[in-house]
Symmetry: C2
C-alpha cells in the first residue's frame, strides 16, 4: 500500500500550487490514456482482480481511514443520511471488492467492431470501439464510488481523475491506494487512476473550467446542487443525470395484486435512489377497486400519501398535495398521487412534471401500454415492472457510474460500454476520390 503517498487533505493550496497539481494530474492522465488504449483485455482483468484482492487485504486500513472521516463528519454535524452514505463497514468493503470483480468479468468493450460494410469502390469501413480518453469523476460523500468509478473507467480503457467529497477524503485515499496496487500488479501505469490529492474546493472549479486539454468528459455523481454546478461551469462535455422524478401509472386494466406489489416496490424498496417512484398516477375508472389495496400496502410500509382533492375525499389518510408536490423528488417515504382520466392524461402529466428518467405503466390492455412506451420520451419506460430496475446491474450491464438523463452520448445506465467512443478504420487498395 505504498503505491501512493498518504496526502494530507490540504485545502490551503495557493492558486499556483493548485494549478501545478492539477496540470500534473492532467498530463499524467493523458499519457496513461495513450498507454491504456493499447493494453490487452487480460492486463485490465488482471489489474482489476488484483485491486479487488488489495481492497480485501487492506480492509482494516480502509475502515480506519473511514473512522477518521466519520469523526470529522460527526464533528461537523453532517445529517444522518450523509453519515450513512459515508459509513463503511466490513460488508460494504466486501461489496466494493465484489463489485470490482464483477466489472473484471464483463466483456471488454474496447476494440469491438460495432459495424462494418464495404463501399461500391471497394473501401472496407469498420466502426471500432475506442476509449473516451480521460474522464473526470466528481462525486460526493460515498467512498465506494472511488472503487466503482475507478474500475469502470479502467475496464473501458480510460484514464480517470477522481474528485470525491472532502468529507470522504481519507476513505477514498485508502481505497484509491488499493486500486493503484492493482494497476501495478497488472503492469499498467499507476497514473491510470488518480485522485485529486487535495480537499480544496477550488480543485473542482479547476477540473471543470481549466483542463479542456486533458479531460475529455466529466461525469458528476451526486445531488442536484453538484450536478447544477457542474453543468453551469464545465467547459468540457458532461454526462450527467439531473434527478429521478419517476412515475408509476396504474391503468384500469391493471391486475390489482400486481399494481399493489409494483407500486410498493417502486416507492419503498429503497426510497433514496434515483429510480424510486415519486408519483403514482391512477385511472379514475379503477379507483374503487385498485386504490385501497395499493394505499393500504403503502401506509402499512410507512409511506406518507399526498394527493389531489379527489383522493383526499376518498381516503382520509391522503394529505392534500400542492402543485410543488408534482415537481418534487422526495427521495423519502412520501408518494404524491394523482387521478387521471386515461393514458393520454398520464402521459401529459409525466411530460409536464417528470425528469425523463424512468416511468412504468401497469396494465393488461396492449393499446395503452404501447402508447405509453412509445410516446413517453424518458430514458427508461417499463411495462408491468418496478421503476427500481433503473440500474446498470439490473440491466445486465454490470456496474454503472450513474443513470444519464441527457440525450447526448449515453442515456440510461452508464456502464463500461457507455464510457467509450469509436473511430473508423478504412482499408483500401489505392482508391482516390473522383
Amino acid at each position: 500500500m505504498n503505491a501512493t503517498q498518504p496526502l494530507a487533505a490540504r485545502d490551503d493550496l495557493t492558486p499556483d500550487e493548485l494549478a501545478a497539481t492539477m496540470t500534473r494530474l492532467g498530463r499524467q492522465a493523458r499519457e496513461a490514456a495513450r498507454d491504456l488504449a493499447r493494453v490487452t483485455p487480460e492486463q485490465k482483468t488482471r489489474a482489476l482482480m488484483a485491486a479487488a484482492a488489495a481492497i480485501r487485504a487492506h480492509r482494516d486500513d480502509i475502515l480506519a481511514a473511514n473512522a477518521r472521516d466519520m469523526e470529522g463528519a460527526t464533528a461537523r454535524n453532517l445529517s444522518g443520511a450523509m453519515l450513512d452514505r459515508l459509513l463503511l463497514d466490513a460488508k460494504r468493503v466486501e461489496a466494493m471488492a465484489k463489485g470490482i470483480e464483477d466489472v473484471a468479468a464483463l466483456p471488454d468493450p474496447v476494440g469491438n467492431i460495432i459495424a462494418e460494410w464495404t463501399r461500391p469502390n471497394g473501401l472496407r469501413i469498420q466502426r471500432v470501439r475506442v476509449p473516451l480518453g480521460v474522464i473526470g469523476i466528481i462525486y460526493e460523500s460515498r467512498p465506494n464510488v472511488t472503487a466503482d468509478a475507478g474500475a469502470l473507467c479502467l475496464k473501458s480503457g480510460n484514464a480517470v481523475i477522481l474528485r470525491g467529497g472532502s468529507e470522504s477524503f481519507h476513505s477514498s485515499t485508502a481505497i484509491h491506494a488499493a486500486l493503484v496496487a492493482g494497476l501495478k500488479a497488472g503492469g499498467l501505469p499507476e497514473t491510470a487512476i488518480q485522485m485529486v490529492p487535495t480537499a480544496s474546493r477550488d480543485a473542482v472549479g479547476y477540473l471543470l473550467g481549466q483542463m479542456q486539454q486533458y479531460v475529455d468528459v466529466i461525469v458528476p455523481r451526486g445531488g442536484k446542487n453538484l450536478i447544477a454546478r457542474v453543468q453551469a461551469d464545465a467547459r468540457v462535455p458532461v454526462i450527467g443525470h439531473l434527478e429521478g422524478l419517476c412515475h408509476v401509472y396504474v391503468h384500469r386494466s391493471a391486475d390489482i395484486g400486481m399494481a399493489r406489489d409494483v407500486v410498493l416496490n417502486a416507492k419503498m424498496r429503497r426510497t433514496g435512489i434515483c429510480g424510486a417512484a415519486e408519483t403514482l398516477l391512477i385511472d379514475r375508472d379503477c379507483l374503487a377497486t385498485h386504490w385501497r389495496p395499493i394505499a393500504d400496502a403503502l401506509v402499512a410500509a410507512g409511506c406518507e400519501l399526498r394527493g389531489d382533492p379527489e383522493l383526499c375525499r376518498l381516503d382520509a389518510r391522503v394529505k392534500p398535495a400542492t402543485e410543488e408536490d408534482w415537481r418534487t423528488e422526495y427521495l423519502d417515504a412520501i408518494l404524491s398521487c394523482h387521478v387521471v382520466a386515461d393514458v393520454d392524461e398520464a402521459i401529459r402529466h409525466i411530460t409536464t412534471y417528470g425528469s425523463a428518467h424512468t416511468e412504468s405503466i401497469i396494465a393488461s390492455d396492449p393499446a395503452p401500454v404501447e402508447r405509453f412506451l412509445r410516446d413517453l420520451d424518458s430514458a427508461i419506460v417499463l411495462h408491468n415492472a418496478s421503476t427500481q430496475f433503473a440500474d446498470g446491474g439490473e440491466f445486465g450491464m454490470g456496474a454503472e457510474i450513474g443513470i444519464a438523463t441527457g440525450r447526448i452520448h449515453a442515456r440510461g445506465p452508464v456502464g463500461a460500454e457507455q464510457l467509450t467512443s469509436y473511430k473508423y478504420v478504412v482499408r483500401g487498395s489505392g482508391q482516390i476520390r473522383g
Copy 2:
C-alpha cells in the same frame, strides 16, 4: 412560397425583442419535436420529396435572393473564397434538391431496435433509437447548409433552429421557404424547421447561452473562429469539429504509383475541405525512389511544397518549413512535408501536431499498417486511400452535417443516425426488485 413571411434582416432588435423572438422559436421547436418523434417514416419522406420539388420550382426566387446577398457581400468587400461559398447557380440549386432526395431515400433511423436482450428474471429490454429533440445549427456563408441541415434533422425526427450567416440571409430565407412548403405537403408542423428571423449577431449568443430549456444540442458548421466561439459560450452540448489537419504517410513499402496518386488526390482534389491532406510524412528509406514522382505530380498540379532541411537539400522546389507549418491547416495548395524514420515516428508526429480528424498510410507491408490503424487515435484512419474520403456520402451514410472530431456522442461523419439518441423499453410481467 407563402409558407413563411419574408422577414427583413433586422439587426436592430432590442434585447427584449430578441428574447421574445428566440423564446418563441424555442417553444415552437420543442412542440414540433414532440410531434415529429411520432410521425411515420413515410410522412417524413413525403415532406422531403416535396421540399426538393419546391427547391426546383422556386429556383428563380432562390437565385434572385442569392443575387441580393451577393450584392451586399461584394459591397462589403468579402474575400473571393467567401463569395464563392455564398454564390448559388442553377447547378448548385439542383445539387441541393438532389441532396434532399438522397436524404429522403436513406433508411429512417427512428424506432430502430439497436439491441435487445432478456434478463434472467424475464424482463425484456430493448434499446430503441429516438430523435435527439431540438437541434440548433449555427453556420456561416454557405446557403446550401440550410437545405442539407434541414433535411438531415427532419429525417432523424428532430426539430431544428437554423442560424446561418447574415451575408446569406436572403438565400437561406428563400431555401427555408421551400423546406417549409415540403413540411406542409407532408402534413408535418411548419415549425419543424425554423430559421432565426434576424441577422442580429446577438441571436447566436442567445441560442448558445439562454435556450437550454429548448435546445438539446448545438452543431456549429464553419471556420475555426465560429467553432471556438460556440465551444466557449455554449451552455448546451455541442457536436463540433475543430479542424482537419490530415496526414498522409508514405511507408517504404508503398507502391510508388499508388503513393503518388493518393497523395495528389488527398492534397489537390479540393484543397478547401476538412479532409484535404495538409502534411505528407515519408520514410527516409524510400526518399530516393518515392519522393520525386510524388513531388513532380504535386508541383505539376500547382502545389507549393514546404519541408524540413533534408527535403530542401534533396529538391530545390521545396521551401523551408517552420514549426508553425506542422500545425497549419492550409486549406490551400500548400503541403508541408516531413521525413520520418519509420511508422513510430510518423505516429508520434501525427499525435503531436494533428487534429485527430483523418490520416492515411500508404504501404504494402501489413505490420506498419496495423500499427498505424490501431495506434492512431483519429476519427478516421485509412490504408491505401485518399483522406478526401472523409465524408458522410463517401461512407455511404448519405448527407452529413459535418465531421465530428470530438469524442462524445458522434465521431467522424455526422449523418441522420448520429443525430439520434436512444431510450430503453422494458417489458415485464409484474417483476419487482429484490
